[in-house]
Amino acid sequence: MNIAKPNSYRSGPDERGHFGIFGGRFVAETLMPLILELEKAYSEAKADPAFQAEMNGYLKNYVGRPSPLYFAERLTEHLGGAKIYLKREELNHTGSHKVNNVLGQIMLARRMGKKRIIAETGAGQHGVATATLCARFGLECVVYMGAVDVERQQPNVIRMEMLGAKVMPVQSGTRTLKDAMNEALRDWVTNVHNTFYCIGTVAGPHPYPALVRDFQSIIGNETKAQMQEIEGRLPDSLIACIGGGSNAMGLFHPFLDDPAVEIFGVEAAGHGLTQLHAASIAGGRPGVLHGNRTYLLMDADGQIQDAHSISAGLDYPGIGPEHSWLHEVGRVTYLSATDDEALAAFQLLSKLEGIIPALEPAHAIAKVVELAPKRPRDHLMVVNLSGRGDKDVPQVGDILRGKK
């Protein structure tokens, strides 16, 4: 496909929510007025300095930002190439990057007078972040989670319940993240009058992909400033894992118009790209699901296929629409890592740096292992360590002891 290069990679979406052919607002009529209301509320909030000031206060003192940009010295020595920096999003309150977005959306919900918050969650990180901020602001919280994920991410289920959220195990379809999203949409369509849907990734109908990206862009903005301070220049490459793609978009977006910066997204290749996987760009094509047009895993009849990843947070048959566009215009290179590669990277980072990563960013680390040795020693590589691995300890422990 021959696609014209845009003047800027950062100007999307257009007023109808499109990034090229991707994005849009493919929702039931019942939800349409709410989405328009959200779009209006968000553009007013963006223009309101008091909104930003209040959010900055919570980002600093509640979330604990800025997150450090840490030189991973032993991993760098071990791989013998690029100088590797970890953007430590796992040190945020609640243990992942998800809280950046949830804080923004909860503050919007408060502005809009919504008292009931719903969310979908895969690994439970977005669910935990949502439950946390609902507790902080005294809002009712209902989290939809696939029954399979409830099983494999028990620590996060317990955390959400301790925070006062109601966790609804979803038994329909494949009982993972996509079904949790279906069920959250069904709840929203039923409870439109008092409910705010806090979407956890850069997907869904416009304005969600743009709104979530904006709230997550603090990751890339901080990285830019921190790298300037430490090394006096821009990084040479960025790497992040992608399910829906919010941590990746947050890191990438502020760098999209810096042409010297190479950017890599890492999808979950599961058992391998010829078998069950969750790599929508590598193995899918454009279709329409969950309110947007984007790359999806599906069969010849347009039926959505089961995704598979060892990581519940990446186990989704789609990807945010802006990523689909960045793939088509060639600004970001999308790679993939298998379950086994992610498991190996999980152990490597734990042992070399004393940091247990979540299985999701372990996919990004797996590609660092591949790319860093091929780069010179003065190459600055930043990987987004989007979450900590505490939630995965029981699951990985079972796998390593040969139980699963």
């Binding site: 607002r25 009529e29 019942t30 349409m32 007025p33 039923t190 599906m298 010849a300 347009g302 039926q303």
Partner: protein, 278 residues
């Protein structure tokens, strides 16, 4: 352009009675039985037939219709076979309007232009696509109107007076009023609220207004139909079908009759209603 839908509603208006609109999933529980069921509907009193296009992720549907879609997919149903089903029905019936209802992705993947040609030639009269609001009219609505198919829009309790003109702008055939905020199979709205909503929509359009979601019994069907130009029943029929299946979800000798009998009872309810005041 006059479609079978326009003709049917004009006839019913002359008779002074509302329409009974049925919904069943194409290919549920298998393609052959599904054709027998659809064929039995007009004889049992259905005036307009909606046929669901199965989809793995039906975001606006409750558990009954979700399960119906999965049964159909498991039985090998595809969009192509749904069009064959319509073609099969049209061999014996060239009058009863057929409306395909579902989600956009299978049509997008089939190819919009090819789908419209094939649907028209199979004998489809209209489309209801849940996840295509007026903001996305370029995708399918405008091409469908050009191809001579009705594009029937859902109006909901959240569609206020300010938004109604946008929703109605490219709507044709009839307007489908979703009586509640919620998914298919949920509880019914009370008929006073429905009556007010239908009156509100009629201030903006001359099209017939049919009401659906939550109608399960002949009594409710009568109550709702007396305030509208038609009543739509889906989940109750899908449940009757499901309850006739064997333990493995296969059709039994009772399946076709189970749906036909409930259709007849509901049709009696609707036909007992006074036509809504124009």
């Amino acid at each position: 352009m006059t479609t079978r839908i326009d003709t049917r509603f004009a006839e019913l208006a002359k008779q002074g009675r509302p329409a009974f609109v049925t919904f069943l999933m194409a290919g549920d529980p298998d393609p052959a039985t599904s054709l027998e069921i659809i064929k039995a509907l007009p004889k049992s009193g259905a005036d307009v037939i909606e046929i669901g296009m199965p989809f793995t992720d039906p975001m606006a549907d409750g558990p009954s219709i979700q399960a119906a879609g999965l049964r159909a997919l498991k039985a090998g149903m595809t969009l192509k076979k749904t069009l064959e089903l319509v073609r099969g029905f049209r061999k014996d019936d060239n009058a009863t309007p057929i409306v395909l209802m579902g989600y956009y992705n299978p049509i997008y993947i089939y190819g919009v232009d090819k789908f419209l040609v094939d649907a028209k030639s199979a004998g489809v009269d209209g489309l209801i696509i849940v996840d295509l609001p007026p903001e996305e009219d370029d995708e399918l609505c405008l091409p469908a109107l050009k191809a001579g198919l009705n594009f029937i829009r859902l109006a909901t309790p959240t569609t206020d007076d300010k938004r109604l003109p946008a929703v109605l702008a490219n709507t044709s055939g009839f307007v489908y009023y979703v009586s509640i905020t919620g998914i298919t199979g949920a509880a019914a709205a009370d008929s006073t609220a429905v009556s007010e909503a239908v009156a509100r929509i009629k201030r903006h359009t001359r099209l017939p207004v049919c009401v659906g979601f939550g109608i399960r019994t002949p009594e409710t069907a009568r109550a709702i139909a007396s305030h509208a130009n038609g009543a739509v029943v889906g989940t109750a029929l899908v449940d009757a079908l499901k309850n006739s299946l064997d333990a493995e979800g296969r059709a039994t000798a009772r399946t076709v009759n189970a749906v036909a009998e409930l259709t007849a009872a509901l049709a009696q309810g609707v036909k007992g209603a006074q036509q809504a005041a124009e």
